[in-house]
């Protein structure tokens, strides 16, 4: 039996393909990102070592960088403030209420998740459209003389774009919270009921703390998702108007794939990795430090 499960050749056959592929496609590039961020490199020719030159340029000379950094935070904040509370409210009230059509409701909340980001963004482009869009048509139908072109206004563009992302992935947070609520043993709620606690009191005092692990995951997901945002800007605004909706990933994309400044792009990517790492560590440090086992 030992010989059977310790068969060296079989182990090699089973594990090497995955290990090699992962190392070459995922691990090696991440090392490269950090290494290349210290070089001035156009992606083809000889790279010259510049030390922290790229980072210096980014922090002190590139005016877009500050917008990009700030937009990442706005994006993350929007996602956290919309998706998590909304997902929580919907999941809690759906579990509490006895009503018809629960299955339909659940499907409706989740369904945007299965669409491609391109479809969602195109769809919202036509919803936001200044002349014919659904939103402005709606205002018109309600008799409100209010027309807006949210995406071409530098002040509102980033919020409008972040909102689309929030709409798209809200169902994910909803489903996570719902699954977690269902796994909480019934006696917790019964005990609270006997003690005379109201519905929402029960939820805020008992359910939310019990779901700390789930919320930790939601937070990491929403914040890193916001910091990494790229596709929405690329499709809906192209980083514009001007540079108003640049994010770090967009900065990286433009530097590497448009301006051939690969070293500089890698520096932006490296900064992004650090940002996400710090956020994940902070959340793990301060939220839900003890695992709850029922």
């Amino acid at each position: 039996m030992h010989k059977y499960l310790g068969n060296k050749r079989a182990i090699a056959v089973f594990t090497l393909p995955a290990l090699i592929l992962f190392t070459v496609v995922v691990f090696y590039p991440i090392v490269q990102v950090f290494y290349r961020s210290f070089f001035d490199w156009d992606g083809l020719g000889q790279a010259t070592f510049v030390g922290f030159g790229n980072y210096e340029k980014m922090f002190f000379k590139d005016r877009v960088f500050r917008t990009a950094l700030f937009n990442g935070f706005i994006f993350a904040l929007m996602l956290v403030c919309i998706q998590i509370p909304l997902g929580t409210l919907l999941a809690f009230s759906l579990t509490d209420l006895a009503m018809r059509g629960k299955r339909f409701l659940r499907i409706s909340y989740f369904v945007p998740m299965v669409l491609s980001v391109t479809v969602v963004c195109q769809l919202w482009l036509s919803i936001y459209n200044a002349e014919y869009g659904l939103l402005n048509k709606l205002f018109e139908a309600l008799g409100i003389p209010y027309r807006q072109d949210w995406l071409t206004n530098p002040k509102t563009a980033i919020y409008a774009v972040a909102f689309v992302n929030a709409w798209h992935y809200m169902g994910y947070h909803f489903a996570l919270v719902l699954a977690a609520v269902k796994s909480v043993p019934e006696q917790f709620f019964e005990a609270a009921k006997i003690d005379g606690a109201g519905r929402w009191r029960t939820h805020f005092r008992i359910t939310v703390p019990l779901l700390a692990e789930t919320y930790k995951f939601c937070l990491v997901l929403a914040i890193t998702g916001g910091l990494n945002a790229f596709a929405q800007m690329f499709i809906m605004t192209g980083g514009g108007p001007g540079t108003a909706t640049y994010t770090l990933t967009y900065l990286m994309y433009r530097s590497a794939f448009r301006l051939n400044e690969f070293g500089y792009g890698c520096a932006a990517a490296a900064l992004l990795v650090l940002e996400c790492l710090i956020v994940t560590i902070l959340i793990n440090r301060f939220v839900a430090r003890e695992r709850i086992v029922y």
Partner: protein
Amino acid sequence: MLARLRKWQIHWKIFLWAYAFFSFYPIIWMIFYSFKNNNEIFVTNPFGFPTKLRFENYVHAWNSFNVPVYFKNSVIVTIATVIGTVALSVMFSYAAARMNWRLKDVARIYIVTGMFIPVQVIMIPLAILVRDFGLSNSLLALIIPYVAFNLSFCTMVFYGFFRSIPFELEESACIDGASVYQAFFRIILPIIRPAVATVIIFVSLMAWNEFTMALMLITKEELKTLPLGILFFQGAFTTDWGAMGAVMTIASLPTLFVYILFSEKVEQALTVSSAVKG
């Protein structure tokens, strides 16, 4: 007291239905306008069901641009990614979960860490890698990275599943004189079918919808997948919303159908990752 409770419940029910409408209606609206002409979308009937189902929008969209090519590419990429990912991760997690070797935990954690790496971050080196390996001229430029990126998630799912099966299975296979490969294919694979279903759903949705990697790794028109292809209608179809809606609906129908048919399985597949990440 009861009356107050009723009222309270009604408020929440309204809230639940209102958000459902807000979440669902834009998609319905898109499908509606894919059957309308501009006059109907802009002026006569912007919100409701089309007065006449104009299938010619679909015919026009399908024929006038590369939609069939994009569709075919998306199908190929999705199928190849699913097969590649399932094969590699089943084999790897079997060895990591049930066989005896020294570094098995290190190897597993190494692969699962991939879940924490945002795709966008490594795009520059990955694009150079794809170029240097000469993959730019084939769909492998997408399939290989997709497989590599999905390994982490799938390994995690299969590993959990393999740990929950009794070890006596292999013991009896061993006594009966089967080789490790025979035991793997004849006994283990049939048992893990539910986990395979979860993984297939997750990976195929990801591969069908993926945009960022496709954008940075694919430059040739004839290799574009649907999410990437749709982008270029933006310019071409600005004046023809109906056809644009038709292309978007074509790209979304496969995933929508899968979701409506297996909704619970899909929700489970997409949320199962929460067990480890975070």
